[in-house]
Assembly symmetry: C2
Homo-oligomer: 156 residues x 2
DNA sequence: TATTGTTATACTCTATAACTATA
DNA sequence: TATAGTTATAGAGTATAACAATA
């Protein structure tokens, strides 16, 4: 059995020809790689994305972040709470019910590390995309979640 | 506030220009849509993918499926257990420790429904991909998880 | 020694319901 | 009535460690 790997007949894998399956595997692989980059920074993916949203939009509310990033309000609460406990984010009441979020100075330092990790990750990712696909790859991905599903998508 | 939506200034969203972020959002959106298609069939995504792997490779073992689909051995046990309890999959000892998996007749019927859902989903997905991207989209996605990461990918 | 299947366990993300206080 | 934030809870996917049986 010294060569069990070489002699093992390859399994049929009809899943690999399906764009939907490939999309999920690609996303999972890239998320795993990106999360490894975030480990030394002490962040998880959702925390990093929320920090970036606040850095881009100082004073934004939790609900607006949730709508933009597709994170439930209920899940934003403990997430922002952790960032506040770490001294990275400050809440300031906008009106009686809304909190405007801003980065503290420690938060600004943290976002710099996050952006470096993001840049490295995006470079690594695009390097694996075939050259002839690079110009259209981002638009194709964005079309899948930004465009409304075609009419009667569930009946297509 | 009758027009709060119209007058709400659009937030800056630097995430939307990142292929890695777009990949995750696209995958999440497509998974949500596909899972909705599977609800009436009574399956979850991982169950459907395992059924397809067995249909393509009768007699395959749990460990081989796990390696092909990137599912941990430990997580295959309860997953296959559920399919067996529903009478869709049969286990037959290959040797003292391996079980070869095959579909029962009920499993064959189930896989037909799964394949119909998959076909509808893939059609709906590709319809949203810009025409000029379709020829290269699948290869780009597969490159992201099938190709080994570039050397020193975490330092790139 | 390595592999298969298994159990137990834990973490992350996600989803819903319900509550308060405010608009 | 609708919205913001919160709490509690549950489901699904994923990850590691450990074990017995077998190769």
């Amino acid at each position: 059995m010294f060569n069990s790997i070489l002699y093992k007949k390859p399994m049929k894998d009809s899943l690999a020809t399906l764009p939907g399956y490939a999309l999920r595997r690609a996303s999972a692989a890239m998320m795993a790689e990106f999360n490894q980059r975030l480990v030394p920074l002490g962040f998880r993916f959702t925390e990093a994305s929320v920090l970036m949203a606040i850095a881009d939009n100082p004073g934004i509310t939790q609900s607006d972040i949730g709508r933009a990033l597709d994170i439930q309000r209920a899940n934003m609460a403990p997430l922002v709470g952790r960032l506040e406990d770490r001294g990275l984010v400050a809440r300031a009441r906008v009106d009686g019910r809304s909190h405007g979020l801003t980065l503290t100075s420690a938060g600004v330092q943290a976002i710099n590390g996050v952006r470096a990790a993001v840049d490295a990750h995006e470079t690594s990712l695009m390097a694996r995309v075939p050259v002839q696909a690079r110009a259209v790859f981002l638009d194709a991905l964005n079309a899948l979640w930004q465009e409304p599903a075609a009419q009667s998508s569930l009946a297509a």
